[in-house]
Amino acid sequence: MQLINMLTWWQWAILAMAPPAIVLLYFLKLKRRPVEVPSTYLWRRSIEDLHVNTIWQRLRRNMLLFLQILILLLAMLAALRPGWRGVALSGDRFIFLIDNSASMRATDVEPSRLEEAKRQARLLIDQMDSGDVAMVVSFADTAKIEQMFTDSRRKLRAAVDAIRATDRPTSLVEALKVASGLANPGRTADDVYDVQVAEPLPATLLIFSDGRFADVSGFALGNLDAVYKPIGNPESVNLGITTFAVRRNEARPQQLQAFAQVRSFDRQPAEVSLELRLDGELINADRFELAAEESRGVSFDLGTPDSGVLQLTAVTGDDLAVDDVAWAVVNPPRRARVLLVTPGVEPLEYALSTSAALELADVSVETPAFLEQPAYRQPAATGVYDLVIYDRCRPKEMPQANTLFIGALPPAGDWKAEPQVVAPQIIDTDSAHPLMQWLDLGNVLIAEGTPLAGPLGGVTLIDSNIGPLFVVAPRDRYEDAALGFVFIAEGGGEGKEPGGYIGTNWPIRASFPLFALNVLEYLGGGRTSGAGEAIRPGQPVALDSPLPGKEVSVQTPAGETVRVRADSSGKANFSGTGQLGVYNVRIDGKVARHFAVNLFQASESDIRPVSGLRIGYVDIPAQTSQEAARRELWRILLVAGLAVLCVEWYTYNRRVAW
């Protein structure tokens, strides 16, 4: 309690004379009006009764005096301006930005960081003066307005209470854009003059966060006065799984390998034990010590599981639990849909119908006339096929699929072919490329070859003395490959026998069926979809549907079922990936595949609160201690004085009227 003297000594002297004056007036008032009565007999007995009553009766007789002195004392106290150090909210417009990202689930402050942030926000809301308006925004990777500007503290408190923790990473940018909408209204330059479209409303931005997000660049705070309230204990400890993926074993492609990375965000060495479960059953475990701030990769051999859900758990006992579990999925291989359009190429048809090839793909063979029919055009345009092989023919438009052109050029793109050359010699193959793995083309002879030049980004897979004969190049999300020679040449050409002839001896070499399998695996996408990709919380997922417009249902880790309808390209876009865990995709009631949503965000796992934010070119230091301010009492005292005055008036009237 502090007092500030607001009056000079002579003013105090005048004020000090007031109470004795009141008392004096009461004594003067005792000069009573004489009234003659028949007898004082009853009066005296009444007075005696009152006299013998408690001292309270005596006090009651002087109630007015006491009340008047009380009013005066309250006024004097108010003149002393009593106050104390309190927490102040300066300004009259506030924006509460409350971080509800995954790192705010940390329990280094009881009960959790988010609850602590909400508690601090509620405290400040309680201290808002009447007439102040505030807005509540929660943010993770996106921002959500929980409550628009209002002066109702009840609504604000309810909005703060309604904020729930998420598993998402953090980004302040969107929240800042939301917040600055009113404070920094846009300017229009449509006219010759630069016109401000609205009156800017400056506001105080209160950011409740651990600050674990990238510095915001390219944003000007403008009329926003940002205050950063760091939430969390700087001594908090956390270990997190930052990567967990299933990959094909480099040495043995049939086998799958799980790879994980564990990172420590602790200043002390810590022991970690990892448990790996496949479909709930413990299949592997590891235990090691992590030095301070160390990150270590771990790999587990999985064998050859067809499908399953892998769960990696780090038993750590740290402050943040959400990053101690990671999931990965192994989806059953899907047979690729392959279309072979050819006037007739027996060797390739044989190679694509081996039992190994049938495991990988479902191949249908059509003649070039099929290209003109709607039965081709519609599936090709909607991406029903995974791979289309054009043998000595070309479509008018490129299909929504990977393609392999044999003896022809893709109609789109910057493909070029040089004049045909007789008997080219293969001089090199790119055996590192999946299409060319394990192929020995040294014993392959080619009758006629056309040197090719692919578009930008194309890779030459077979090089010859006359130029590239096999080129693969990307096109949007697909890849096109073109072979500069044919397996069966057309007959009836210039100086050639009618009916066609063999264009190369490759089909009778051992490498040919392998090549066919490589094509199916790589361009057909046969095995590549076996290991599920890592998806971040909130990231949309494109799910394959067997037919365009078909409904796909997704079961979230919480057990809810969400139905998504596939679009015309056969992709169903699912965006409800807010929760961490494994999602089951069902098509026609059967589980078609899984996908896992993992945090894998070092910035979320590193839960030590930062000491300051940087927004644009402004550094915002952490404001751990509340801004000290004087909480004044004199208004309350004056109101109390007024209340006492009312009581005094009432008492006086009671005495006079009754």
Binding site: K29, L30, R32, R33, P34, V35, E36, V37, P38, S39, T40, Y41, L42, W43, R44, R45, S46, I47, D49, L50, Q57, R60, R61, R654, R655, V656, A657, W658
Partner: protein, 295 residues
Amino acid sequence: MSTASTLLSPELLARLERLELVSRKIFRGRMKGERRSRRKGQSVEFADFRSYVHGDDLRFLDWNTYARLDRLFLKMFLEEEDLHFYALIDASKSMDFGEPTKLAYAKQLAAALGFVGLVRGDRVKIETLGPGGGDPPPVLRGRRSLWRMLEYLENVQPGGEAPLAQAVKSFCVRNSGKGIVVLISDLMDKSGYEAALRYLLAQEMDIYVIHLLSVAEIEPQLQGDLRLVDCEDGDVAEISVSGPLLKRYRETLAAFIHSARDFCTRRGIVYLAARNDLPVEQLITGYLNQRGLLR
């Protein structure tokens, strides 16, 4: 008549003529009157027989009985006597308050009761308690004494500071006769009214107490800080009128009335509280009739 009209209106007089004073006790009168006495005597109403003893009045012998039984019996008749009626008016200064003043009210009441007594041939005596000295009150009898009674009442002035008990004692000493006594007073004597009533009780009189209070006493209209001066002894009470004080006063008054009523009832005294805003006619024809003083 002009004098009478101030105390008794002709209408009231007409109504009073039909009433008579009733005593719950049968007293021995001084003169023959209209009331039955316990004493046997001369009247037309037969009471009893008794044996003749020497010296009895031969006029009352029952000759018919003597003829049949050959023994002398004396016929006894109920004696009819007059009734002594006393009205005691408290004429202290405290009675000189109210609108009309309590004293005026008391005079009116005494005049009315006295008139009833006079009409019925009772012996009526109206005494004022208070001012000492002066002419002793006349003893009145018969309708023609009405004017004397009224004249006497007109001349009663408030004053005197003798305590009630003293005045009553003096009355009792001077009047030994039994009869009906009506005390009209506000009973506000600081030394207490109980002693005064005890004196009357000792006389074995049929006592009526009319406790007369003014409206200003029952519902005081006072405000502010006052110095109350007692008109009789100059006693001063300083009060600050407040709700609680007035409440307290009303409680005290109620207790005062209650204790007086209680005191009287216990001792066979008829108590009647009256207020000066109640018309005398109503009091007499209504309340006193109910209480049995008048019939």
